[in-house]
C-alpha cells in the first residue's frame, strides 16, 4: 500500500461510523432496568419509613430530630452494606434505584474509602474519600446557599 501524507480519517468516515454505532450498539433493556430501579428504590424508602416508625416508638423526638435520625441511620446502613460487599451487587441490578437514595451517597463515600485504604489514612482514605461523591457535595452546598439567599432576599 502506498503511503499518504494524510493518515487522518476524514470527517465523513467518522460521522458514518458514529452513526453506525449509534444504530447498532447494544442498548440497555429500558423496561427491565426501570422496573428494577423502581422496585429497589421503593424498597429502600420503605426501609427508611420503617426505621422512622421504630425510632418514633422508641424515643420522644420532634419531627425535625426524627428526620435527622432517620437520615443518619440510613447512611449507616448504606455504609454497612457497602462494607459487607452487598451494595455493589445490588447496584449492578438496581442502578438508579440504589444510587439515588441517601444510602447510595453513603455507598459512594464508603466504597472510595475502602478502595484507597491501602494508600494510607491521609493520602488514601481522607484525600480520596470524596472522589465519587465530590460533585454531589459541591452541588448540594451551592444549591443550599442559593436557596438560602433566595429565602433571605426575596421571601424574607
Amino acid at each position: 500500500m502506498d503511503k499518504t501524507d494524510k493518515p487522518e480519517y476524514p470527517e465523513a468516515v467518522q460521522k458514518e461510523y458514529s452513526e453506525l454505532i449509534k444504530k447498532t450498539e447494544p442498548k440497555t433493556p429500558k423496561t427491565k432496568t426501570m422496573l428494577c430501579a423502581f422496585a429497589v428504590g421503593g424498597l429502600i424508602c420503605c426501609v427508611g419509613e420503617a426505621v422512622k416508625d421504630v425510632l418514633d416508638k422508641l424515643f420522644t423526638l420532634t419531627p425535625v430530630q426524627l428526620s435527622a435520625f432517620v437520615t443518619a441511620a440510613m447512611i449507616f446502613l448504606g455504609s454497612l452494606f457497602t462494607a459487607l460487599g452487598i451494595y455493589d451487587k445490588l447496584g449492578r441490578k438496581a442502578g438508579a434505584g440504589s444510587i439515588v437514595p441517601i444510602t447510595g451517597f453513603a455507598n459512594s463515600v464508603a466504597s472510595s474509602a475502602i478502595e484507597h485504604n491501602r494508600e494510607g489514612v491521609f493520602f488514601g482514605i481522607c484525600a480520596q474519600m470524596f472522589t465519587v461523591a465530590g460533585p454531589v457535595i459541591v452541588f448540594g452546598i451551592v444549591l443550599s446557599v442559593a436557596a438560602g439567599l433566595i429565602k433571605m432576599l426575596i421571601l424574607k
Partner: protein, 332 residues
C-alpha cells in the same frame, strides 16, 4: 524480509519454546479454564493490594514460561513486557530482581503483540538469543484506575467489557523446536472518533480491520491460509464491527475469525461483550493457542491483539479513543 510498509516475514523465524499463563478465579471458570497453567482461587494472590497481585501474576507467568522452556532465568537476554497500569508499574516490578535487559512496552491491550513482534525481531536480527515476552492486566487494579471503586454500586452498560485478571508469557529462542513466529504486521493508530469509554470494541475495531487488511494485502495471503485468526479484545460487538469493516473493504472473513475477549468468558458470567485487558490475549495465547499448536490441532494462526490508547485524563478532556492493533503469525 520487509513485505510492505507494515508487514515483514522472518527469514530465520524465532521459536516459541515455552509459554505460561496465570489467571484469576473468574477467568478459570470461563471457556478456556482447563488450558490455563495456573488458576488462582484468590484474585489477590496472597498480596496486600491488587497492584502487587498483578505484578506477582506476571512474574509467576514469566518464571514458569522459562521453566517450561527448560531454561534458567539467567539464560534470558531480555524481558519485553507491558500492562495497562499507570507507568506500566506491574511489568517494571515483575522484572525487578532478574538479571536481564528490561524493555517496558505500552500498547494498551495490544501490548502482547507488540512484545512478541519486537522480541521476534531482536532474535531474528541476531541481536539476542532468548527473550521473554509478557503482558498482564488485573480487573481490580484496572477498575480503580480507569473507572470506579470496586464496591461502588454502579451499573455496567451492555456495551462494556470485563478487564481480565490474567498474565501470559512466552519465551522466544533462536533455536529449538515447536511453533515459530513467522512474521507480522505492525499497526498504525486509527481513530474513528469514538469517545465512549464504555464501548472500547467500537473504538478499536477500525484499527483491527486496518491491520488485518494490511497484513493480507502485503503478505499476499488469504484468510483461508490460517486455521484461526484471533483479534485481542474487541469483544462480541467490536468483533462484529471489525468483520463488517473488512467486508466493506472487500475482505470476507471466514468463521475461523474470532476474538480472545469474546471467547474467554461464558455467557452466564455477565461480562457483557466479553473480556478485555492486556492479559486477555497474552493468557489466551500462552494458555490455549500455544497448547493447541503443540498438539498440532492448530498449525497456522494469526493473532491480532488490539489496544485502546486512552488515558483517564484524555477521555475526561473529551478526546476520542485512538485504536491500535499489531498482527503476528505463528506457524508449526
Amino acid at each position: 524480509m520487509r513485505m510492505g510498509n507494515q508487514t515483514f516475514m522472518f527469514e530465520k523465524p524465532p521459536y516459541i519454546i515455552g509459554a505460561s499463563s496465570v489467571v484469576g478465579p473468574k477467568e478459570a471458570e470461563g471457556n478456556f479454564g482447563e488450558y490455563f497453567d495456573l488458576r488462582l482461587n484468590d484474585d489477590a494472590f496472597g498480596e496486600k493490594s491488587y497492584e502487587k497481585a498483578e505484578c506477582k501474576m506476571q512474574k509467576t507467568a514469566m518464571e514458569s514460561a522459562v521453566d517450561r522452556a527448560e531454561l534458567k532465568f539467567g539464560d534470558i537476554d531480555a524481558i519485553l513486557s507491558g500492562d495497562i497500569s499507570n507507568q506500566i508499574a506491574a511489568s517494571s516490578f515483575a522484572a525487578r530482581g532478574h538479571d536481564a535487559v528490561f524493555l517496558g512496552l505500552y500498547g494498551a491491550c495490544a501490548t502482547f503483540g507488540e512484545a512478541a513482534i519486537l522480541g521476534g525481531m531482536l532474535i531474528a536480527g541476531g541481536f539476542m538469543n532468548r527473550v521473554v515476552c509478557a503482558s498482564s492486566s488485573h480487573f481490580s487494579s484496572a477498575e480503580r484506575q480507569y473507572r470506579y471503586p470496586l464496591e461502588l454500586g454502579n451499573q455496567r452498560p451492555p456495551s462494556s467489557q470485563w478487564t481480565v485478571s490474567a498474565a501470559g508469557a512466552v519465551v522466544l529462542s533462536v533455536n529449538g523446536g515447536g511453533p515459530k513466529i513467522t512474521g507480522g504486521t505492525l499497526g498504525k493508530i486509527v481513530d474513528f472518533g469514538v469517545t465512549d469509554v464504555n464501548n472500547m470494541g467500537a473504538a478499536m475495531a477500525p484499527a483491527a480491520a486496518e491491520c488485518i487488511y494490511a497484513h493480507f494485502a502485503e503478505a499476499k495471503r488469504t484468510p483461508g491460509y490460517y486455521d484461526l485468526i484471533l483479534t485481542g479484545d474487541l469483544g462480541k460487538y467490536g468483533h462484529g464491527l471489525a468483520r463488517k469493516l473488512l467486508k466493506e473493504k472487500g475482505l470476507g472473513m471466514p468463521p475461523s475469525f474470532n476474538d480472545c475477549g469474546a471467547m474467554i468468558f461464558k455467557e452466564e458470567q455477565e461480562a457483557f461483550q466479553g473480556g478485555s485487558g492486556a492479559g486477555c490475549c497474552g493468557a489466551v495465547f500462552s494458555g490455549y493457542i500455544y497448547k493447541r499448536m503443540k498438539e498440532k490441532k492448530l498449525n497456522r494462526v494469526l493473532i491480532v491483539p488490539t489496544g485502546a490508547l486512552l488515558s483517564k485524563t484524555s477521555s475526561e478532556q473529551g478526546e476520542s479513543i485512538p485504536g491500535i492493533a499489531h498482527a503476528f503469525s505463528v506457524e508449526n
